[in-house]
Subunit: 404 residues, 2 copies
């Protein structure tokens, strides 16, 4: 299967047609590690064949970045080059399309470096500008491409063929017509989102080993899934996607939570993460590994210690069915229920998209330059909705979806 040209082409087609849904005449930006060139070329070819006007690829090189983290002076460590900001703003202005390709070719590249410097090396200003793009300006998607490095992280050996098998399962490339299979899948997730929205829960409560977390919701919030619409174009922002999600009230998270998956972030694995929330804010944080990095992240700005997302996933998930830990958020967050620290998706709160930053803040729609998903679901974690009158309605029980 590995490097099978037909498979790469099919993945590229699914990415361009369903994920990003590139429109004729669009400017189309791709961000990918340099090791993903074989996939990027197929995506670009597919996009141009679909009528894209200009495809720009920004290839990232983690080994160059490693030298940067090691040696750059403090004032340039987290510097966002103005030309990358301009690139981001241009695609926003032009209402273009965006693809981010993950599948880390070197998952441990920063693992032995100073965690504080690693965290400070994030291009925060650029991160914030990119979040604006994904906030209604551009049709966009995130996909992941199998590499030896990623396979080694998952299996302990560079078994790319086995990783491809898992990716094929998770992304429904094993279906006779993957595009049609995605339409069906999207419809099912949409039904769940409609059911959740109809219940108008005041909060969601997670209970399991090490976890008793209540996440307050917005009275005028709604649940969404899979398909997004930006700039008048329907697109699937994450492939795979198995979640239904909403934007919590950033002021109303209470309790403790324990991660159920390791978290791969900036070349470092965070394991055994435990956080206590009070008044919406993370006030205590511990981890067996990667604690310093996490502490630095949640301190980068005011919203970094608050939740911007709560998402539910059941055990019918194609990703969960592989039984793998992918050490790749795009996949792992679709195997288990999760919450995210940092930036919220304003489209889940009525009218929030057109609010100013100050108005969003006042409404409890979280803002931050980070967005870090924490997987907290498992078959041992039950999830219930709490109604305005205090009634608990089961949503997930032992991993099964039970809400109607």
């Amino acid at each position: 299967m590995v490097n099978d040209a037909d498979l790469v082409a099919a993945y590229a087609r699914l990415t361009v047609q369903v994920g990003v849904n590139v429109q004729p005449g669009q400017l189309f930006l791709i961000d990918a590690p340099v090791e993903h060139a074989p996939f990027v070329r197929q995506v670009a070819a597919e996009a141009y064949a679909t009528g894209a006007a200009f495809v720009d690829v920004n290839y990232a090189d983690e080994l160059v970045r490693r030298s940067h983290v090691e040696h750059a002076p403090d004032d340039r460590l987290g510097w966002s080059p103005p030309w990358l900001l301009e690139r981001t703003r241009t695609v926003g202005r032009e209402r273009g399309a965006v693809l981010i390709v993950r599948g880390d070719p070197r998952p441990d590249v920063f693992a032995d470096l100073d965690g504080t410097r690693v965290a400070h090396a994030r291009m925060r200003e650029l991160g914030a500008a990119k979040l604006e793009l994904t906030d209604g300006l551009c049709n966009w998607s995130i996909v992941a491409f199998p590499t030896e490095g990623w396979a080694t992280k998952v299996f302990g050996e560079p078994d790319v063929a086995r990783l491809w098998d898992a990716v094929v399962t998770a992304t429904r490339l094993d279906e006779p017509d993957p595009v049609a299979a995605w339409r069906t899948h999207i419809a099912e997730l949409d039904r769940r989102a409609v059911a959740l929205s109809r219940h108008r829960f005041d909060a969601i409560r997670f209970r399991g080993p090490g976890t008793d977390l209540t996440v307050g919701l917005h009275a005028d919030g709604s649940w969404q899934a899979a398909q997004d619409e930006s700039n008048g174009v329907e697109h699937v922002a994450n492939m795979p996607t198995e979640e239904v999600f909403t934007t919590p009230d950033a002021r109303r998270t209470e309790g403790v939570v324990r991660s159920t998956y390791p978290l791969q972030i900036q070349g470092t694995v965070v394991r055994g993460l435990e956080i206590r929330f009070e008044g919406g804010r993370a006030v205590e944080l511990h981890a067996h590994e990667g604690e310093a990095l996490m502490r630095t992240h949640i301190a980068v700005d005011d919203g970094a210690a608050r939740l911007g997302e709560v998402a539910l996933v059941d055990r019918s998930s194609r990703v969960g069915k592989t039984g793998l830990v992918f050490y790749e958020t795009l996949f792992d967050e679709n195997a288990a229920a999760h919450v995210a620290l940092g930036a919220a998706s304003p489209q889940c709160v009525d009218g929030a998209r057109v609010l100013s930053p100050a108005e969003r803040h006042a409404r409890g729609v979280n803002q931050s330059s980070i967005h870090i998903d924490l997987m907290i679901g498992s078959r041992e974690v039950d999830v219930a909705g709490i109604t305005a009158s205090g009634e608990h309605v089961p949503i997930l029980q032992r991993g099964d979806w039970v809400l109607r």
Copy 2:
């Protein structure tokens, strides 16, 4: 030799220390094909170790670009993305450093495409902005990295080891101390430049099979070699370099010239090129191969059909000694005397660096968004200087340097 980490590291060191001469605190931009990542990483590591503040790599992907040439709408075909212009302007403003890495991994990538579209796909605005950088704002260099594609072009098979041998010879990496060897070499070329400048030739005449070309020079011009100084930093703009060169008077080229090397340009080989000049302008052009591409290039702007450089190379050249045609201008132009169509180096004309575009034009210092070197020297082409009184003084005879 291939992929020998020590060799790549030594080449990177020579590039950073002698070629670009990266200074502590500098912003350092690298432009390279995506296939050159192994070299680029070494260069970045060396630059950061030297104290560079920020290294940015723009990896080009010729296969993505091929899709662009095939499918892009006309109005985006030669579009220069504003963010790449901003990148170029930023390094100019910051007086940063620039490296361009050649060694085309896919020399024939555009060969079967419409030559006119290929030529129009050049980012002209970006090209012009980059020429400004190399006009005193930044210390910079161009080097070339061996790849299978380039080796195949040279040898008909992907013999990268053999190409490395040639590159090692041409760049003096075979010397016990390459940096010291370069100092000696630069001093020798400088002696030639001083001798040529002292003669104050009014013109240079090339005579050989198919060639009788007289290139008028500036009365206040000078010859330069190897080492350049920009932004107060000494650097070697081309590695290898074997030439002494000056800026001709763009109004005073007369006669006919026949290329002595094939020309590799934008994935197309131009062979058997013959040009007739009148009043400084190319008025007739023929080629056995690539004629349409060349015609399009010399029509892109007013200066594209005039000369911006004349350069002399003798047969002691390390590049010439390899006996190879590299299909890579950086190397081939250092095997043989050459002239260049397009943009001139204003530093060879007294005071021209500070002149406005209009003033440069009035002085016959050529300006263009292109700079295409045409190799016209061989052992059969003699070169003489013509003094103001009309005397012919031999410079190169059968390839030997005879001027004192």
